[in-house]
Amino acid sequence: MDKFTTLTGIAAPMPLVNIDTDMIIPKQFLKTIQRSGLGKNLFDEMRYDRKGNEIPDFVLNQPAYRDAEIIVAGDNFGCGSSREHAPWALKDFGIKCVISTSFADIFFNNCFKNGILPVVLPAEAVNYLMDDAAKGANARLTVNLEEQTVTASDGQSFPFEVDAFKKHCLMNGLDDIGLSLEKVSAIDTYEERAKTQFPWL
């Protein structure tokens, strides 16, 4: 997995609440058996018309935001389906960080497995960063995972909380499965105990 340490980049403002995973990557793109290549279909139905032409108003189609690496979004980003295709599509497009007041649980976890940092901030901070992002490509945000801060283009800084284990994995690009397999003897012990305790399983 790619490491995440610090990032300075263009932030795209998406003030809509409840941006769901069907919006992030519609179901017709879930038929792939690959993880890569979904970036071109990120936000497909908001981004393109039926003929496949770009909808100029959509934020990621605007010249200032085509190279965005951060999204500042309304409440409850990533709600709905568990599809990991959503963070795969964000990542493939080049988004490495999403900032919102809240995230849906499964999407939030899926981000960390893919080197994407979801940052939860209070509404005032999100609004401030949303306004900053709306200034366009000249306004770049800096996200520092080590120090747990997001800094706006004017230097205004906002601290954020992140789970210590998830931070460790993200900063070091660690593979969860490898870590868990180091505990295989604990899994063996649990299974032995369960055979006696829950023999019907």
């Binding site: 609440v17 868990s180 369960a194 305790q197």
Partner: protein, 473 residues
């Protein structure tokens, strides 16, 4: 004496393999359900790392999302190329890794969350995961069940565990009795309407109260199924005699002495008196009306007697979202919901594709015809539900009414297969999500119970089912 525990606390504690100082746990997984859409990359990951499935006997796979629901679908030519490749990948992965499998040709095939309980894979007190958010369904048995992403699918395949931190406890109590015509679907939608789609974020919900106890197992599955739409990691209902009765005798449920041993454990699975809940929501069962959604979020719930709201009825970020929903749905504020005309009806899904759901819809459709210009699709949740509905004469009622009687699968709930809405087509749907484009590009979804969907099919507009007489079927 130990501190009183919630049901969630008890199941969690029984599955902790390892706990780090910061509270991060390795949690053991008793059942892993797999379908074709969210698993190919996980199996590929195993292959690349030269890993195997740790507990193939605890892993059950069935194709459901992509499969066509038309007769003759076992012919691969009926599937678009990409879908065919995905289903073929599951066929191969199930065989290569030696996991239980119900292929599309098996009468037991169906929606993974209907097949699991039906086959007795789902038991009280278990941990159940699947790469699908509606895994919450299995919480109806008092099992801790939730959706996971594909990386976590791979993690469970390789280790039979998940890395988790414990969620907080939330109680949703539905007191008293439901009025006639009000169903489990109305309960679960009413709860989301009250708490919002993020109201459960960070929590595991335990549903309780007289109205929940009064529900059948199938109704309880409908309630827990949509816990995810309220943002919760999982929804739970404490097991009781109805649960034990439902489980007993199913193909993969314990038998004889093993069943008795299991039963004595299952009877300890309840929330202790005085256990702490971090959040409590209470609704009065008798105040819940038959509801429908008007917008593009499952929280956009109103009683069928209500009027379409205006964006100005909301505050904060919801003002813009409501306006966007009204525009998308093509609705005018102030119009009666019962005046909203529909083009299509979808009866099915892991929320409402079980036999009782089909009976409820058939009770309304019996002796009636689908309204002119409306197409109605009835999709049973599994091959066995389909067989039972045919045996009970329900299929005949559907076809006599002019509905399409289909094969089992997810179908138009997420429209990955050819069952889709056309642009601006409006659907009365028993599924679980009314998101933009969910049932087809620019399609418009109103969520409701099977009886309400059947009523809309008959009248051609959103309808209070209580205004139509029904007879038991």
């Amino acid at each position: 004496m130990t501190a009183p525990k919630t049901l969630y606390d008890k199941i969690w504690d029984a599955h902790v393999v390892d706990q780090a100082d910061d509270g991060t746990c390795l949690l053991y997984i008793d059942r892993h359900l797999v379908h074709e859409v969210t698993s190919p990359q996980a199996f590929e990951g195993l292959r690349m790392a030269n890993r195997k499935v740790r507990a193939p006997e605890k892993t059950i796979a069935v194709p459901d999302h992509n499969v066509p629901t038309t007769l003759g679908r076992e012919n691969p030519d009926q599937m678009p190329e990409e879908s065919r490749i995905q289903v073929a990948a599951l066929d191969k992965n199930a065989k290569d890794f030696g996991i239980h499998y119900y292929p599309v040709t098996d009468v037991r095939q169906g929606i993974v969350h209907i097949v699991g309980p039906e086959q007795g894979w789902t038991l009280p007190g278990m941990t159940v995961v699947c790469g699908d958010s509606h895994t919450a369904t299995h919480g109806a048995f008092g099992s801790l069940a939730h959706g996971i992403g594909t990386s976590e699918v791979e993690h469970v395949l390789a280790t039979q565990t998940l890395i988790q931190k414990k969620s907080k406890n939330m109680k949703v109590e539905i007191t008293g009795k439901l009025k006639p015509g009000v169903t489990a679907k109305d309960i679960t939608l009413a709860v989301i309407g009250a708490t919002g789609t993020a109201g459960g974020t960070g929590y595991v919900i335990e549903y309780c109260g007289e109205a929940i106890r009064d529900l059948s197992m199938e109704g309880r599955m409908t309630v827990c199924n949509m816990a995810i739409e309220g943002g919760a990691r999982a929804g739970l209902i404490a097991p009781d005699e109805k649960t034990f009765e439902y489980v007993k005798g199913r193909p993969h449920a314990p038998k004889g002495a093993a069943f008795e041993a299991a039963l004595s454990y299952w009877k300890t699975l309840f929330t202790d008196e005085g256990a702490h809940f971090d959040k409590v929501v209470t609704l009065k069962g008798e105040e819940i009306e038959p509801v429908v959604t008007w917008g593009t979020s499952p929280e956009d719930v109103l009683p069928i007697s209500a009027l379409v709201p205006a964006a100005s009825d909301f505050t904060g970020g919801k003002v813009g979202a409501a306006q966007r929903s009204l525009d998308y749905m093509g609705l005018t504020p102030g119009m009666k919901l019962t005046d909203v005309k529909i083009d299509a009806v979808f009866i099915g899904s892991c929320t409402n594709g079980r036999i009782e759901d089909l009976r409820a819809a058939a009770a309304v459709l019996k002796g009636r015809k689908i309204a002119d210009g409306v197409r109605c699709m009835v999709v049973p949740g599994s091959g066995l539900v389909r067989a039972q509905a045919e045996e009970e004469g329900l299929a005949q009622i559907f076809t006599d009414a002019g509905a399409e009687w289909r094969m089992a699968g997810c179908s138009m709930c997420l429209a990955m297969n050819p069952d889709q809405l056309a642009e601006e087509e409006r659907c009365a749907s028993t599924s679980n999500r009314n998101f933009e484009g969910r049932q087809g590009y620019k399609g418009r979804t109103h969520l409701m119970s099977p009886a309400m969907a059947a009523a809309a099919a008959v009248t051609g507009h959103l309808t209070d089912v209580r205004e139509l007489t029904t007879e038991t079927v």
